[in-house]
């Protein structure tokens, strides 16, 4: 051990360097966000609570097929309607259930949805779906999906029942539904 090393070990200057670092952090701006009062706005592509619009849904079951863990459950029946002279078959959605407690938010259902805009989407910015009992509380049927009962919407987000725009959930969707589909919509809801 040379004399320099000896002095170095006698006066541990690196300890003071370390204390300088932590002392500097003392005056930094704090990273904490005081959650219930302040919330971080999620990014645009953040996948949160499901948005579902039964008006746009064409009952193609593609989302249920795309789901890797089969948590989307759809049943339907066909009704025959007379439109003028012709018989017309209509599919009516009886149940559209999502077991959100098992969802891993992969977004494949949204990707599979063929309608434009999407009938099921996850970019709702909303994540406060905490419940005390997960089996009942996180099981969403089509009525709950429409009005988000039990879910606290992120401030500023439009509820799906009011016509949330999947592309930007803070806005209402401008496009009016086509007139011919009104009967389907009424029959379903």
């Amino acid at each position: 051990m040379s004399f320099g090393d000896f002095v170095q070990r006698l006066i541990p200057t690196d300890l003071f360097t370390g204390m300088g670092v932590t002392g500097g952090y003392l005056f930094r701006k704090k990273e904490t966000i005081q959650y219930p009062e302040k919330r971080m706005t999620p990014k645009d592509r953040f996948r949160g609570m499901f948005g579902y619009d039964i008006e746009r849904c064409i009952d193609c079951h593609l989302c249920a097929k795309a789901c890797p863990i089969d948590i989307i459950f759809i049943t339907d029946h066909t009704e025959v309607e007379m439109v003028g002279e012709k018989k017309k078959k209509k599919k009516i959605i009886d149940r559209y259930d999502i077991d959100v407690k098992r969802c891993m938010f992969c977004g494949l259902c949204e990707e599979a949805c063929p309608t434009e805009p999407k009938a099921i989407w996850l970019t709702t910015l909303t994540y406060e779906g905490t419940v005390y009992e997960r089996n009942e509380g996180l099981y969403f049927d089509k009525e709950r999906l429409a009005d988000w009962e039990g879910v606290k919407a992120f401030p500023g987000v439009v509820l799906p029942i009011d016509g949330q725009d999947p592309a930007s959930p803070m806005k209402k969707l401008e496009v009016a539904p086509a007139s011919g589909d009104e009967a389907v919509g009424e029959g379903a809801s």
């Binding site: 070990r9 932590t22 952090y25 701006k29 904490t32």
Partner: protein, 345 residues
């Protein structure tokens, strides 16, 4: 007011109550300060929910610990298990009997000395009494009937013995300079000398402070309660009020070590350069505030250490104690003795 009952019982009683009250309140708020400062050093906010800005947090903590269930493990040695927290806490409080806070002053014609007792072996008393606290830790570790606790107690024993020796030598260097064991006398000696003892005794101070950190089981020498290895070390099995005693004792010991460092090396309640007339305006600050400010600065350094340094390994701890601090402290005593001999003749 010269009534002997008042002089011999009344005033000491009042002083004792004041010292105890201020001490316990300070200790309670030190826990808050520690959590707050640690939080700030980790770029978070620390406790801020109870009361305005979190200032009622210590009270909430105290209430919680008071009302908690007091568990005693089934096979623990009941009597020793209950004795150990008292054995650790009582010396930490008892030491304050001899620690002076300021100069004597007069209220209503009665001279009041801001300390409970100025005994002529003050520093010896402090060292002797504070060492009893080690028994609390060892017995707590043994009586818990838990391997983690036992390891913590054993480590504590080895650590205390290792670091008591260089600490004693570091104190001895101050005693050589001051020529008295009385804590008031040491501060007066610094006034007569015209300098705080830190300037001639910087090496001694370094050794004293490192040993003090080790004696109080604080980071980076917190091996007796090393969280990562020993769960909580000697107080693993303790809960409720008994745990609170350990906690309070740790902070009270921090205060004792800080106070000793201030009295021995930083001139107690004296302002910087106590004999320089040019700095006389500093006397506007009352002596007690000088003392308290210095002590709190040391407490902050304790917390700063905890926010910065990782824990030493046990062999490193022993190595620092025996291979570095002990020879250094011996050399320091010799140097100081030589200096005193040459300067004072």
């Amino acid at each position: 007011m010269s009534d002997p009952i008042m002089v011999y019982i009344g005033i000491p009683l009042i002083k004792g109550i004041v010292v105890l009250g201020v001490l316990l309140l300070t200790v309670a708020y030190l826990t808050f300060a520690e959590r707050k400062f640690l939080g700030y050093m980790q770029v978070r906010l620390g406790p801020n929910r109870v009361g305005p800005k979190g200032w009622l947090q210590p009270i909430a903590d105290g209430l919680k610990l008071f009302t908690k269930e007091d568990l005693i493990p089934g096979r623990a040695e009941r009597f020793v298990f209950m004795l150990a927290p008292i054995l650790l806490f009582a010396p930490a409080i008892l030491v304050w009997a001899v620690i002076p806070f300021g100069e004597s002053f007069t209220i209503g014609g009665v001279e009041i000395q801001p300390f409970l007792a100025d005994i002529n072996i003050g520093i010896l008393f402090v060292l002797a009494v504070s060492t009893i606290g080690v028994y609390g830790i060892i017995l707590a570790g043994w009586a818990s009937n838990n391997k983690f606790s036992l390891m913590g107690g054993l480590r504590s024993a080895a650590q205390m013995i290792s670091y008591e020796v260089p600490m004693g030598f570091a104190v001895a260097s101050v005693l050589l300079m001051a020529g008295t064991l009385s804590l008031v006398g040491i501060v007066d000696a610094q006034r007569d000398y015209g300098l705080w003892f830190i300037f001639p005794g910087i090496l001694g101070f370094g050794i004293f402070f490192v040993c003090g950190v080790a004696e109080t089981n604080r980071n980076p020498f917190d091996l007796p309660e090393a969280e990562a290895e020993l769960v909580a070390g000697f107080h693993t099995e303790y809960s409720g009020m008994k745990f609170a005693f350990f906690y309070l004792a740790e902070y009270a010991n921090m205060l004792v070590v800080s106070s000793l460092a201030v009295i021995l090396f930083f001139g107690g309640w004296l302002r910087p350069f106590p004999n320089v007339e040019f700095l006389a305006f500093l006397d506007l600050v009352p002596p007690f505030l000088w003392y308290a400010g210095k002590v709190l600065a040391f407490i902050f350094v304790f917390i700063w250490f905890r926010g910065t340094f990782p824990r030493y390994r046990f062999d490193q701890l022993m190595q620092i104690g025996w291979k570095w601090l002990l020879p250094l402290s011996l050399a320091n005593v010799m140097l100081v003795a030589l200096g005193v001999l040459l300067l004072k003749g």
